[in-house]
């Protein structure tokens, strides 16, 4: 600075301030934890953020079902016989929509459709969330064990994963749904739809952990060779410390990404199986069940089909877009 000729001072100063601004921004960025960097990237992605809010709205709607249904003084069990005519169809147009019944009624039974759908989404979300968490937990635990212990254990899990991938998944879910529900009921843990929920979660997890297992296993194998893990080894850290303190924190982004991607997948899986008639059964309701019922009425009452269709598509799309944004934000390799 002192050696700079006087004539250039002005230019030098502005240049200096600009570069120092950049420098401070860079310093700032370098001081950020990976989590903060990810959050900043996510905040910039308006589509992902908006989708996240939409998804959150539906989640709140699902778990606050009694509250929101209470606003309209409806619940999923009471029937409104006045709303349907002799043939079981809803009177009036637009499925009988009105101030007190925002989505109208369910033909046949005359139950309030809004109440059915929000209460139903609670079951769908619960199944999807439990399955996603269990899927990620089982997949990553097996993968860490397989990758770290290697040898026979690794081989065993690898073969098991191969074997499960060759299983025709849908057939097995269909075939096992009835008997497995019965065996869960006979153990006395849960009855009826409770048992069916456990059955769905169990089958979905058993047949899907292997895909995630492969991804995590290869990630752990790469991590294991990294310097910081070797350093921990050299310092005398045991396997348990290496797993929980060194490896797992580095797997969190991967796990979060897969959680967010699998959640909408399981939401559709639940709807699909309910639609096929092997999931939750009436009088309970889920989106899949309502859709299955609505198909019978599509010519006479299209609005009844349209509402659950739109809700399912919006939620799944929102969750997918949010998951996509989350992946971009957490993926350190991409600089989009």
């Amino acid at each position: 600075m002192t050696s700079t000729p006087n004539g250039n001072v002005a230019a030098e100063v502005t240049d200096q301030s600009a570069s120092s601004e950049l420098q401070s921004a860079l310093d700032n960025y370098n001081q950020l934890s990976p989590r903060q960097i990810a959050w900043r990237r996510l905040k910039k992605n308006k589509v992902a953020l908006a989708s996240g809010i939409v998804a959150l709205f539906f989640l709140i709607l699902a778990y606050g079902a009694p509250l929101f249904a209470g606003i309209f003084h409806v619940d999923p069990n009471s029937r409104f016989p006045d709303a349907i005519d002799g043939t079981g169809l809803v009177k009036g147009s637009f499925n009988g929509m009105g101030l007190h019944h925002p989505f109208g009624f369910e033909p046949g039974t005359g139950r309030d459709l809004f109440a059915l759908l929000v209460y139903g989404s609670r079951i769908s979300f619960t199944i999807a969330i439990i399955t996603s968490v269990a899927f990620a937990a089982v997949g990553s635990i097996f993968a860490v064990i397989a990758a770290l212990y290697g040898g026979k254990i690794d081989n065993f899990f690898g073969r098991l994963a191969d074997f499960l991938l060759a299983f025709p998944f849908t057939f097995f879910v269909i075939a096992l749904s009835v008997p497995l529900t019965k065996s869960i009921e006979s153990t006395g843990i849960a009855q009826n739809n409770g048992a069916r929920m456990i059955m769905l979660v169990l089958l979905l997890v058993i047949f899907s952990w292997s895909g995630f297992f492969r991804v995590v296993r290869s990630q752990v194998l790469t991590l294991r060779e990294k310097e910081f893990v070797m350093a921990a080894h050299a310092l005398g850290a045991g396997n348990r410390r290496i797993i929980f303190k060194e490896i797992l924190p580095n797997l969190y982004p991967l796990i979060i990404i897969y959680l967010s991607i699998s959640l909408p997948g399981y939401l559709t899986a639940e709807a699909t199986f309910s639609f096929l008639g092997i999931g939750i059964q009436a009088p309970a309701s889920t989106w899949g069940l309502t859709l299955d019922d609505a198909v019978n009425y599509w010519q006479r009452d299209p609005v009844y089909l349209l509402i659950p269709t739109l809700m399912l598509i919006i939620v799944v799309l929102a969750l997918n877009l949010f998951g996509d944004g989350l992946r971009d934000a957490l993926d350190t390799k991409s600089d989009r």
Binding site: A175, S186, T268, V316
Partner: protein, 330 residues
């Protein structure tokens, strides 16, 4: 090379045997007695016992499995010797009164037609969109392809199928009453086409999304290779580089995924078949579960599906080892 194929075939064969055993074990260890389900409302213990004998369930599980394997190899007699099913026999279905192999062979053309049509359509859509997206990376065609991928992966198959079915019915393109009744492509090509086109589109849209993503990623990855730069330096046009030089290398992961998906599809696309009332393997399986709990049909469809998957797995492995010699050695 032959040694490698032999080894892979052996491994896949073992997996198939293991799957058949486990399928047997699972289905017979469960607390559902098909004998009492098929017995009806006026049921007595004697009737159940007679039914069990008819179904061949009155002997230990390993004897049942032994009989099953014997049936596969040399054929077998069922229902007290009244029915004979010849060589590759997968069992005998009491509710439908047919040999499982015969029944599944009857349904297979439907599943095969569904699989081939959907496969061709989704590969065409998926790969061309993936190539265009990679060529115009970051520009509007890429964004449009991305939107297509998101929609395709977000739409549940059954919902997309239903919406297409409803739309087609409203437009009088298909007749909901005859929809799904099998007509052979050589006797009534138009009827055949009408039967399948919307089912093909349904499967194609949901699967093409995956292939768009896969192709785009693979093409972009290959485009940073040295030989692409060399071609560009020689003045080869961009499209020619893409289609002649790049795509050949990018095909490997796409082919392996396609092989597995096609193999999986041949086992029956349960949801699409149910929505479009196509009487293929998937529909047979779900009817067997929901209406009669017909175990021999379930075991049969499960094994057929697993076998197709494994055969195509083998084909992919072999194709890969032709493309990439390094695979053979390891």
């Amino acid at each position: 090379m032959l040694k490698y194929i032999g080894k892979r075939a052996m491994a896949n064969g073992l997996i198939l045997v293991a799957i058949s055993m486990i399928t047997y074990l699972i289905f017979w260890a469960l607390p559902v007695n098909p004998a009492s389900i098929s017995c009806g409302t006026h049921c007595t213990p004697q009737k159940i016992a007679a039914n069990e004998h008819l179904l061949g369930l009155d002997v230990p599980i390993w004897v049942q499995y032994g009989r099953f394997v014997k049936g596969l190899v040399v054929g077998a007699n069922y229902a007290d010797g009244q029915v004979h099913c010849s060589a590759p026999s997968l069992g005998y279905s009491v509710p439908t009164n047919t040999c499982v192999t015969t029944l599944l062979a009857q349904k297979f053309p439907v599943t095969l037609s569904l699989a081939i049509g959907a496969f061709i359509l989704w590969m065409l859509i998926g790969m061309s969109m993936g190539i265009v997206a990679a060529r115009y990376r970051g520009r509007w065609p890429d964004k449009a392809a991305n939107a297509f991928v998101l929609t395709g992966t977000s739409l549940p198959t059954f919902l997309l199928g239903l919406l297409l079915l409803i739309g087609a019915t409203l437009a009088h393109w298909i007749d909901p009453i005859t929809q799904g009744l099998w007509v052979a492509p050589w006797s009534d090509p138009i009827g055949f086409f009408k039967n399948f086109i919307f089912a093909w589109i349904t499967l194609a849209i949901t699967s093409a999304a995956i292939y768009t993503r896969l192709t785009r990623g693979s093409v972009i990855e290959t485009s940073s290779e040295d030989f692409i730069r060399t071609a560009r330096a020689k003045g080869v046009s961009e499209w020619r580089i893409l289609l002649k030089h790049n795509l050949r290398t990018s095909l490997a992961p796409i082919i392996s995924q396609a092989g597995l998906d096609f193999g999986g599809l041949l086992g029956g696309a349960v949801i699409t078949e149910k929505v479009f009332n196509l009487q293929g393997l998937g529909n047979v399986a779900i009817t067997a579960v929901l209406q009669t709990y017909d175990l021999p049909i379930l075991v049969g469809t499960t094994l057929i599906a697993a076998a197709f998957y494994l055969v195509f797995n083998l084909i992919v492995d072999v194709a890969y080892s032709f493309l990439d010699p390094r695979v053979r050695i390891s």
